[in-house]
């Protein structure tokens, strides 16, 4: 697959919640969203299989989000991959790679306007070495320690693109 092509997309309702501090399902004008708190770090997991067309040049993860109510301040995220490789990974414990930061960005001046932010993640350890045909989990958390916007951040979609 060529650089710049989409590999996989995730919608809010395809998430898996952790046992504690899970993002919550919500709606905004009939659009499903995942709500992420501004004080406590809530988490969502998405599972997938890296497409066979992946060319091993790393990925860029695009996060499509809105501020629930905030019209000032910033919202940021972090992303981590967990490879679930054949005959190797024991799923009885988590094994996520180091979280990659989606730099906090200023929210739109109208709550409900979509903002898209991204982080480029290099192939290898930062992707937990997820390779073609591997199943994997993507973890997304709001960067509550560094962002400043009040209220929920609402996740609308995630796209993984080959860098």
């Amino acid at each position: 697959m060529a650089s710049g092509d989409s590999l996989i997309m995730f919608q809010p309702w395809s998430f898996s919640p952790p046992a504690t501090n899970a993002a919550t399902i919500g709606h905004r004008n009939n659009h499903p969203v995942l709500n992420f708190d501004t004080t406590t770090q809530w988490t969502a997991y998405f599972s997938g299989i890296l497409p066979r067309a992946y060319g091993s040049s790393g990925v860029t993860v695009y996060v499509h989000w809105m501020a629930a109510t905030a019209t000032s301040g910033t919202i940021g995220w972090d992303i981590a991959f967990e490879r679930m490789s054949d005959n190797t990974t024991d799923l009885d414990s988590d094994s996520f790679a180091t979280a990659q930061t989606v730099t906090a960005a200023t929210v739109p001046s109208t709550a409900g306007v979509v903002k898209v932010t991204s982080v480029a993640i290099t192939n290898g350890a930062n992707m937990d070495s997820v390779n073609v045909g591997d199943s994997f989990r993507l973890r997304i958390r709001r960067d509550v320690a560094n962002d400043t916007a009040a209220g929920f951040a609402q996740l609308l979609a995630i796209e993984i693109k080959e860098t």
Binding site: D37, T38, T39, T40, A68, T69, A70, T71, S72, G73, T110, A111, T148, A149, A150, G151, F152
Partner: protein, 84 residues
């Protein structure tokens, strides 16, 4: 002087920010500042508030009963504003 500890104030700010009463043009640290100031104001003015309650309620209700009464008044004021 504050009555709530930092954790309680943070909890109050967090719960307030989980509500959806329209757009909010201040940051989460400014929300916490506002919560802190309201807590200080209520503590500094507890005598004034208590004195606003007429007898025999003032002397016969417990502190918790009077706080709950104030909470109901504030809740009804919010509903009235939302209705209007």
């Amino acid at each position: 002087m504050a009555y709530l500890d930092n954790n309680d104030r943070l909890t109050a700010a967090s719960e307030w920010m989980r509500e959806d009463f329209g757009e909010v043009s201040i940051t989460k640290s400014e929300v916490l500042d506002a919560i802190n100031s309201l807590d200080v104001f209520l503590e500094d003015n507890r005598t004034v508030i208590n004195n606003a309650i007429p007898e025999p309620a003032r002397s016969n209700l417990s502190v918790n009963q009077k706080i709950l009464m104030l909470q109901y008044v504030l809740a009804r004021r919010l509903e009235a504003r939302s209705d209007g």
